[in-house]
Amino acid sequence: MKKRYLLVLPALALLASCKPEISDKIDSGTYYPGNADFSTYVAVGNSLTAGFMDGTVYRSGQANSFPSILARQFEVVGGGQFTQPSFDKDINDVGGLLFGGAVNPGFKTKMIINMSTGGPENIKGQSTLEATEQQKKAYHNAGVPGAKTFHLLSAGYGNPANLALGKANPYFVRTATSENVTVLEDALSLSPTFFSNWIGANDVLSYATSGGEGVDQNEKGGLNPGDYGANDITHVGVFQDVYGKITNALTANGAKGVVATIPDVTAIPYFTTVPYNPLTPELIGVDKIDQLNGLIGMLKQILAKGGQGDRLQMISKEAANPLLIQDKSLADMSALLEMGIKQAVDAGLFPIKLEPAQIKLIAVSFGQARHATAKDLMLLTSKAEIGASLAQSTGNATIDAMLKKGVTFPIGDEFVLNSVEQEKVKNATTQFNLIIKQIAAEKGLAVADMNDILNKAVSGLRVEDGQIYTADYFKGMGNLNTVMFSLDGVHLNQRGYAFIAAEILRVINRHYDAKIPLVNPAVYPGPTLLPNN
């Protein structure tokens, strides 16, 4: 009987196996909110706050908007429920918006990489989101894609009747609690104890992404935002006034928060991915260069008569060549060119016979053309233009074959942010950021200097685990796991928003003496790659 007890020993061993306990174990005291109160967090801003990526807002992407990521971390230190506009109806997870059931070219489906063609494309799939289907509910994520600072205070911005007038925003129409409520009023109705405000980028970046096809209201002295075009740069005075009002309203009840600055265009892949000189001799075709130089040389001679010969340069057989672009800030030399080309054709100097209409086409398109320089920023959208044939035939197959965009035919001004336009963008960005920092300082708010962070990310920013994140566009397998900008080149992807969230958490921890666990961007999804589309 006693001997049988012996057999109990091994069993006892297992029962006795007590789990080890880490001495500095994470417990209720490890993380704390410091002197902020995260119980009701509301996020105010534009597309960057809304979780916009790959050219739209789609269900799975929105789930990892930066405020949503932040809110999950806030839960550890007393954060409460965090709601976002419902995208449950995005059945196919493709985003986009329908207007009365019709697709709209301004609200396409999300962008993906089609591996069979290699390029970014809008996913082929049916959008199921209806812009005019109103939820009439205030959400903790109050980010509205496309909103400028003054839009947050604009009554009627969520009124469906204003959509046709261009005075309403379909994303706000979907959520606005009433026709005349403002974005800020809906946000404040949730009584935030903590807020993030990342607004202002569209006040300058919509001008930049349009290739400078808008008005700098600082030059024009435009003080009434109601008169602004969609691509205008907001007047600094207007920005100061509106930003101050928004901040006052957000902090009126003692809420604390974090505000973010506006990134420079030089830190956004949309402006930095396409080089000004992508035309290698091989790309152009080495054997074609002499012939092309004949044409360019002739145009150069004609322009030289007007003192503008240096607009063009001969194509090199050794080095990469710049793109031929349109620059509307140049004096129009089309009349001179038309005359010159006609003379050359008449004198038989032109290899082929040109009709008057064809001469006019070339003269007009070269009237404000020049070769790009390192100072020009080619927009991401220009990539598809390079080497493309003209949309309409000139009526002469030989000329059609010769005219390639970027090489022998200028790429439109709307695909280029030239140095004059860049200067306007830079000035506005700098002044807006000064205002943001100054008002934040007055209110004792934390500042997430996204401009500084993304500028640093241009050369690469190392995070806690040693990974280096750069402000690059998707390059293929080389940065599949680290690319943080989405395929639209302007907005971040889910990983990028996690990167942003981590930075904001660091700022909050520092500013409010809080300790909130960080997030690691590495585990968040990057671009969507599909074998075909």
Partner: protein, 415 residues
């Protein structure tokens, strides 16, 4: 008897033995395990075939048999305060052994040993924070070892023999930290190598100064397990990755390092004391290299950079009477894992082991060997810094804390 049990239980609580660093599992005999897994200079039954074949020739009986198993429970807790990550894993292992010796003549003893000195089973939650390094791993190696021992004199003997190993490993990890299929499932790969065989050898000698004091030395050679026909199976591969992540053949090798032991034992009345020193030549494990045959993935090199490590063992045995022997032991085991190479597949650092046990011999001569061991590990803040992601080494780490508890039962019989 009851009194003895109480003292034994107390002994059990403070003593115990099991794991060594890396993927070595030191549980090759319940008698010796109870004595801190000493044994190179001990003559204490058939277990000597493993510890030092040279000792088998000094066994009194013509036939000696010993077999047993352990059930070990290995717990590891992990946390990373920066990200608020917490995780834990509990794994059960069952190392076994079976030994027999036969005294053919007065000067020659032959023996046979079957044991499992290497093994590692770690099973983390699927897709846990370190899943890009390992989701789960199950490594096993069985040694089959015939030996011959020759008594040169009552003072000196030597012995040894070939070792045949049969082993295998199943290893699953995620492809990267972020890759998912179209349904959001993380893409992972299982590497499988089964029935891999290899040969090695062992040899040792024993010297007896007098009736009390013995010294012994034993060497077990390194064995490289080479797999040329393993399998790689990919799961939850996104459409675009189907060309790259194709199920196929792999080539890989894994070293089972050489082990050198010296020891001394002293018998005094009813007491037996033993001290062993082990040196395990882990340096050979510099990288886990997996060659994906005919695959665009090419060769995957995962640096391990282990260092040689030492273990210091102490053990004591007290023979109460003809029926009962009590044992206790202690050892200190250095981890072969260097800072920055702390991978969660073998998440253990230096340890201190406490062991205890007993043998109860029945009237018919059959002995029951019981053992209990506990390995204590301190908190360690460490990381694996060599995971490549887009050409950059990234780190995964935090605070780890482990404990291993085991209980074993065996039988021994001599005649």
């Amino acid at each position: 008897m009851v009194k003895k049990f109480i003292s034994l239980s107390l002994l059990s609580l403070i003593s115990y033995s099991a794991f060594a660093g890396g993927y070595r599992v030191a549980m090759q005999g319940n008698k010796q395990l109870a004595m801190g897994h000493t044994g190179v200079a001990v003559v204490n039954g058939a277990e000597s075939v493993f510890f030092n074949p040279a000792a088998t020739v000094y066994l009194k009986d013509k036939w000696n048999f010993s077999a047993g198993m352990n059930v070990l429970v290995a717990d590891t807790k992990f946390q990373n305060e920066t990200y608020g990550w917490e995780n834990e894993t509990r794994n059960v292992g069952t190392p076994i052994y079976a030994y027999g010796t036969y005294k053919a003549t007065d000067w020659l003893t032959v023996g046979l040993a079957i044991y499992s000195p290497y093994g590692s089973a770690v099973d983390w939650d699927r897709d846990w924070q370190g899943a890009h390094l390992v989701n789960n791993i199950d490594l096993k190696a069985f040694y089959f070892q015939p030996t011959v021992a020759i008594k040169v004199s009552d003072r000196f003997s030597f012995g040894g023999g070939p070792i045949f190993v049969n082993g295998g490993v199943t290893f699953n990890k995620n492809i990267s930290r972020s890759m998912v299929d179209e349904h959001g499932n993380k893409t992972d790969v299982t590497i499988e190598a089964k029935n891999v065989t290899a040969w090695g050898w062992t040899a040792g000698y024993m010297f007896n100064f007098d009736d009390h004091l013995r010294v012994g030395m034993n060497y077990r050679s390194k064995i490289i397990m080479k797999e040329s026909d393993g399998k790689a199976k990919f799961y939850d591969v996104p459409g675009f990755g189907e060309g790259m992540f194709q199920n196929g053949r792999i080539k890989a090798q894994m070293p089972l390092p050489a082990e050198f032991s010296v020891g001394v034992s002293y018998e005094w009345n009813k007491w037996l004391f033993a001290f062993d020193y082990n040196r395990t030549f882990w340096k050979i494990y510099d990288a886990l290299v997996i060659d994906f045959v005919n695959s665009p993935l090419g060769t995957s090199v995962n640096p391990r950079n282990y260092k040689d490590s030492s273990t210091y063992r102490l053990g004591a045995q007290y023979t109460v009477n003809d029926q009962l022997s009590l044992r206790a032991g202690w050892y200190y085991d250095e981890s072969p894992v260097q800072d920055g190479y702390f991978a969660p597949e073998t998440p253990r650092n230096d340890s201190r082991a406490y062991t205890g046990g007993l043998t109860y011999k029945f009237k018919n001569g059959l002995g029951i060997d019981l053992v209990f061991s506990y390995l204590h590990f301190s908190d360690t803040n460490n990381s694996y810094d060599y995971f490549q992601e887009d050409g950059q080494n990234v780190s995964f780490g935090g605070t780890y804390r482990s404990a291993v508890t085991s209980g074993g039962i065996g039988v021994s019989y001599s005649f």
